[in-house]
C-alpha cells in the first residue's frame, strides 16, 4: 500500500524532475549565459536539495520497477516476502542514493 503510493509519488516527482534535466540541456544548447544561470540555481543549497531528492526519487522508482518485474514472474507475492521486498526497496534506495552522493558529490 505505502509502496504503491511511493511508486506513484516518485513517478510524479520524476515527471517533474525530468524537466530540470531538459532545462539544463536546453540551456547548454542555447549558450554560456543561460548555462551559467542554470548552474548557479542547481548549484545553490536549494538546488542541491532538490537534486538530492530527485536522485532518491529516481533510484526508488527504478527499484520499485524492478520489484514489478519480479512480480511479473508470479514470485515473491506471499505475505512476508512482499514486506521483505518492500523494506529492501526502501532501504536500498536510501543506501544507493547516499552512495551516489558520497562518492560523486561529497568526496569528489
Amino acid at each position: 500500500m505505502t509502496m504503491s503510493i511511493l511508486h506513484r509519488a516518485t513517478g510524479l516527482a520524476n515527471y517533474a524532475g525530468m524537466t530540470l534535466f531538459v532545462i539544463w540541456l536546453v540551456a547548454a544548447a542555447s549558450g554560456q549565459e543561460a548555462l551559467n544561470v542554470v548552474n548557479a540555481v542547481y548549484g545553490s543549497w536549494f538546488g542541491q536539495l532538490v537534486l538530492f531528492g530527485f536522485t532518491w526519487s529516481l533510484v526508488h522508482h527504478m527499484l520499485g520497477g524492478l520489484r514489478h518485474f519480479v512480480w511479473d514472474f508470479a514470485v515473491m507475492m506471499e505475505p512476508g516476502q512482499r514486506e521483505r521486498m518492500a523494506w529492501a526497496t526502501i532501504i536500498g534506495s536510501v543506501i544507493l542514493t547516499l552512495l551516489i552522493w558520497t562518492f560523486f558529490v561529497w568526496m569528489a
Binding site: R8, G11, N14, Y15, M18, V26, A29, Y42, D72
Partner: protein, 130 residues
C-alpha cells in the same frame, strides 16, 4: 463518447469484458519495456551529471557532442517521455473521468511531447552544431 459503467458485478464476473484489451496490453508492454530501457537512461544520466555538473559549455559540447553519447541520449529521452506519458495516464485514469480526463490527457501528451522535442533538439544541436 459514452462511457460504460463498470459495476462490482461486472468486475466479479470472470466472463465479463470491459476496457480495451488490446490497448491495455500494449500499454502494459510499453510501460515494462520503456521502464527496462530507462535503467540504461539512468546510468547515462548519472555519468553525464557526474561528469558535467557545473561545467561550462565547451565541456558539455565535448561530452554530449560525442556521437556515441549524444545519439543514445536523444533516443533515451524519447523513451523516457513515452514512459512518463503512460505513467501519468495510469494516475489520471484513477482520479479524473470524462471530459476532465480527456483534457488532462491532452495536456499530459502535449507536455511530454514538448519536453521530448526540447530535450532531443538540445542534444542534437550539441551533437551537430556544437
Amino acid at each position: 463518447m459514452r462511457e460504460t459503467v463498470i459495476t462490482q458485478q461486472t468486475i466479479a464476473d470472470p466472463k465479463s469484458r470491459y476496457g480495451d484489451s488490446r490497448a491495455s496490453t500494449r500499454h502494459f508492454i510499453t510501460q515494462r519495456l520503456s521502464g527496462a530501457i530507462n535503467i540504461a537512461f539512468l546510468l547515462l544520466l548519472l555519468f553525464l551529471v557526474v561528469r558535467l555538473a557545473g561545467q561550462d559549455r565547451p565541456d558539455m559540447v565535448a561530452v554530449i557532442g560525442n556521437f556515441w553519447i549524444g545519439l543514445p541520449l536523444a533516443v533515451l529521452i524519447g523513451v523516457v517521455a513515452i514512459h512518463m506519458r503512460n505513467g501519468m495516464r495510469d494516475t489520471l485514469e484513477d482520479y479524473v473521468h470524462g471530459a476532465t480526463y480527456r483534457l488532462a490527457m491532452l495536456l499530459n501528451t502535449l507536455f511530454c511531447l514538448v519536453l521530448a522535442l526540447a530535450g532531443i533538439g538540445a542534444v542534437l544541436r550539441l551533437v551537430f552544431w556544437g
